[in-house]
């Protein structure tokens, strides 16, 4: 059961929960199941290129299509980050 830290701006979609435990064997599975459980989080993945993922504090390189190859252990902590930008 991996633990996902929900980024602040998206906690309105998880009833203000900071972290959510999700079962899954790979990073892509876990993210897919997270979005299934909280469909409002789909906006987080609107532009997959902008989504950065950290597992236990270490950034996972590559893009969403490559995350099938990232295995997870049951005690892994995943942080999701969408950048903030301005003009």
């Amino acid at each position: 059961m991996a633990r996902i830290i929900i980024p602040f701006p998206f906690r309105k979609h998880t009833a203000n929960q900071r972290e959510v435990d999700i079962q899954g064997e790979s990073l892509s599975q876990v993210i897919e199941q997270l979005i299934q459980r909280y469909p409002g989080l789909r906006t987080m993945n609107e532009n997959p290129a902008l989504l950065s993922v950290f597992v236990n504090g270490k950034q996972i390189q590559g893009q969403a299509k490559e995350w099938d190859n990232v295995p997870l252990r049951s005690d892994d902590e995943i942080s999701l980050i969408i950048p903030i930008a301005g003009g």
Partner: protein, 184 residues
């Protein structure tokens, strides 16, 4: 309450307001910190307590890095700016800012550790535009970039460097202003 769109007022202690202005003035003076992207732009994260419909700012986190020139953010910003930024003599690749993921994660972690809520971002506007002498509201680009963010965009007008002002807009939408009260 996790939807900041319901807030009716933002209380900003004066010492934190001074911290924000200090950040803006330092960047304008070209006085950069080690590890800071050397650009005359000031931006950061504001966090604090949310009680009922009132946000109280407790923490100012200036952001040091600008990932504007780093892929995939460069392509994203180039695309959005080509469509929404107003004409300017400043080259496009020197306009706009976007946070570095690692730095933003560290900011969010610190906010969580202190038990605060991330309210939004601040950034400054420094040049008056024809028809917009104060520049204290979000540009169309600001609005596009803040879409669906559930964050408040704090816009600091540094057009008059001696008398800066700040206004706040939910998701950078000009019609969703939240009044700011500077408190003692």
């Amino acid at each position: 309450m996790s939807d900041l769109g319901h807030a009716v007022r933002i209380d900003l202690p004066d010492h934190l307001w001074q911290e924000i202005i200090g950040h803006c003035r330092r960047k304008l003076a070209g006085d950069f910190l080690p590890g800071e992207t050397p650009v005359r732009r000031a931006y950061g994260i504001l966090a604090g307590d949310l009680e009922g419909e009132v946000m109280t700012v407790r923490l100012v986190l200036p952001v040091k890095k600008n990932a504007r020139g780093v892929e995939p953010f460069k392509t994203y910003m180039d695309t959005v700016m080509a469509e929404h930024a107003v004409q300017s003599t400043t080259p496009m690749d020197r306009r706009g800012w976007i946070t570095d993921p690692e730095e933003l994660m560290a900011c969010f972690r610190r906010i969580d550790e202190q038990g605060f809520t991330a309210f939004g971002t601040y950034h400054m506007h420094i040049v008056a535009w024809a028809g917009d002498p104060t520049r204290d509201t979000p540009t169309r680009l600001d609005t596009v970039l803040a879409r669906n963010s559930n964050l408040v965009s704090f816009i600091i007008s540094m057009v008059d460097r001696e008398h800066p002002t700040m206004r706040a807009f939910y998701e950078g939408r000009p019609e969703l202003e939240i009044p700011i009260s500077i408190t003692g």
